[in-house]
């Protein structure tokens, strides 16, 4: 990774952070409805993993998807417009926070049922293998998803069919409010891959450079030999979604992880290695502030869907 790419990644992580903070603010103002699952604390995983992909590689994730959308190249404008339910949103305002996607960016969603997108990833990878494409499918999910049947059915079939899937478990240590140790018989999630004879690894998900190194190794394997499970140990700094009372964890635990902030770690690396100085990075932060203001402005000025949109995009073929 050259110096320029590092600055781009730093910018991206800050953008995700600020976008989420702004989304929380808009949620509290009642401008965003439904559920809102924020990615704050996990930025190094999404940015690190997706920065390793080739354009033809597909990305699919769960409902904590705003950061993943940004990393796939979606603009903050379009993300914000979808959060506000506007026609200019990626899903024309019909999907909301949990259903961001852009086929043109090879980003296949944003899926709201825990574990349900893992079989979809199997199918995406199957299609690539079937058509002789070299593409890999990168499928991200939380630790909570590894306890549901879909996870096991999907890992098994991906291995049986030797499909090019990189399974990324973002172990943020809680499935909603239940700690991984209280929900999973095995808290080191990567070990679950052993049951399927699938190669696996565990990486510090707070350090983007480590995430990138592990992802590059894993993708090499996926392209050559089939599926791989990479567990990235991370932490969500905020609640599961807005309105989470957070009775299930202590504030000093949260603080411990916040001290290891993924953006702070990367920023420190860039400065200590004389790659960038404080002033340059601060200027980057300022650029992000402008992008966020612009995104909110774009979303707020965008039109709501017309009533007739209610019946659009349900079937492709007109009914006889």
């Amino acid at each position: 990774m050259d110096k320029g790419e590092m600055l781009t990644l730093y910018h991206e992580m800050v953008l995700v952070r600020r976008l989420e903070e702004k989304a929380a603010e808009l949620y509290q103002q009642g401008k965003i409805g439904g559920f809102l699952h924020l990615y704050i604390g996990q930025e190094a995983v999404g940015s690190g993993v997706i920065s390793c992909r080739r354009p033809e590689d597909r990305v699919i994730t769960a409902y904590r998807d705003h950061g993943i959308a940004i990393s796939c190249g979606m603009s903050a404008d379009v993300v914000m417009a979808e959060l506000l339910g506007k026609t200019t949103g990626c899903s024309k305002g019909k999907g909301g926070s949990m259903h961001l996607a852009d086929v043109n960016l090879n980003f296949w969603g944003g899926h709201a049922i825990v574990g349900a997108h893992l079989p979809l990833a199997v199918g995406l990878a199957l299609a690539d293998k079937y058509q002789g494409s070299e593409a890999a499918t990168i499928c991200l999910f939380g630790d909570g998803a590894t306890n549901i049947g879909y996870f096991h059915e999907s890992l098994n079939l991906s291995m049986v069919w030797k499909l090019p899937v990189l399974w990324i478990c973002e172990n943020n240590q809680y499935g909603m409010g239940t700690a991984v140790e209280r929900a999973s018989a095995v808290s080191e999630i990567r070990r679950k891959a052993e049951g399927y004879g699938m190669p696996n690894a565990r990486v510090d998900g707070m350090d983007i450079l480590q995430v990138r190194a592990a992802t590059e190794e894993a993708l090499k394997h996926v392209r050559k030999d089939g599926p791989f499970l990479l567990e990235a140990v991370t932490y969500r700094f905020l609640g599961h979604s807005m309105g989470d009372p957070e009775r299930y964890r202590e504030s000093d635990e949260v603080q411990k992880w916040k001290d290891d902030d993924p953006i702070g770690i990367f920023r420190k690396y860039l400065i200590e290695n004389d790659l960038y100085d404080e002033a340059t990075l601060d200027a980057e932060d300022q650029k992000v502030e402008q992008e966020i203001l612009q995104a909110v402005d774009f979303a707020e000025r965008s039109p709501d869907p017309e009533p007739q949109a209610l019946f659009e995009d349900i079937y492709i073929e007109e009914l006889p």
Partner: protein
Amino acid sequence: MTVMTMRQAISQALWEEMEQDERVFIMGEEVGLWGGTYAVTKGFYDHFGPERVRDTPIAEGVIVGAANGAAMAGLRPVAELMTINFAFLAMDQIVNHSAKLRSMFGGQFTIPVVIRAVGGGGRQLGATHSQTPDVVFAHFPGLKVVAPGTPSDAKGLLKAAIRTDDPVMFIEHATLYQTRGEVPDEEYLEPIGVSKVQRQGNDVTIVTYSKMLQVSLLAADQLAQDGVEVEIVDLRSLRPLDMDPVMESFRRTNRCVIVEEGWSSYGVGAEVAARLYEEAFDYADAPIRRVAQKEVPLPYNRELEQLALPQVDDVIRAVKEVL
């Protein structure tokens, strides 16, 4: 025209569509080496190979889920569920994904998937393997639900289902596979969402589909001997539901019996009767009757099972009640 069984007609439809479109492939339990548990895909594995006739583990969630994913990425999967009862294990993929991936993402995704599922009772398979839950799937906007009652409809509708870009639940009745009928020799498609008059008459309208079409045809033959001419409208698809031929017939006969194999509560009869009452109330000369399965889980014992399933005599009795 060639006379063939429903099994042959369905098999031909799959074969022809696979021959002419490389994107079409089959996946499911025992579809390959075994040749299909109902022998529908016999010979396919040898001809099309393991890439296009894919045996899967017994894991319905990933069978339908992977089919959805492959469809999103441009293939045209035909996912076979050994029985429709196992569709409950894939319910989330069918109703939350096949049916919604298109609208929920503003039309970005196309899901040209066909889920073939075998349903119906009458084979002493017990309560969990004998259900006719067709209406469950028809409840969900976003899906198309097709259930043919004759070999020619089965072939033409399955070919149409494979070619449509919308997700289709294609329901076959296990006891119809040996049913014979004439099938056109030339290439043809039957339109999804078009009901069809399968027998003409002016005294009573019977609305039915799938296996109960055959039961209703037998009842109609017997009623004709008593001078009662029933008209039989075969819905063929439950969603979209084409009520036009039903309305036209009911406005002429002013009497209607709806025959379905599933339970009557919240069923096809309930839906069709409601629509008739809403739109053609003034035409009714008698209360609309429903013939359906007794409201019990199907028992194993042969006599008890047959007692629960709608029979020819039940249809005849209902027709006489509305006369």
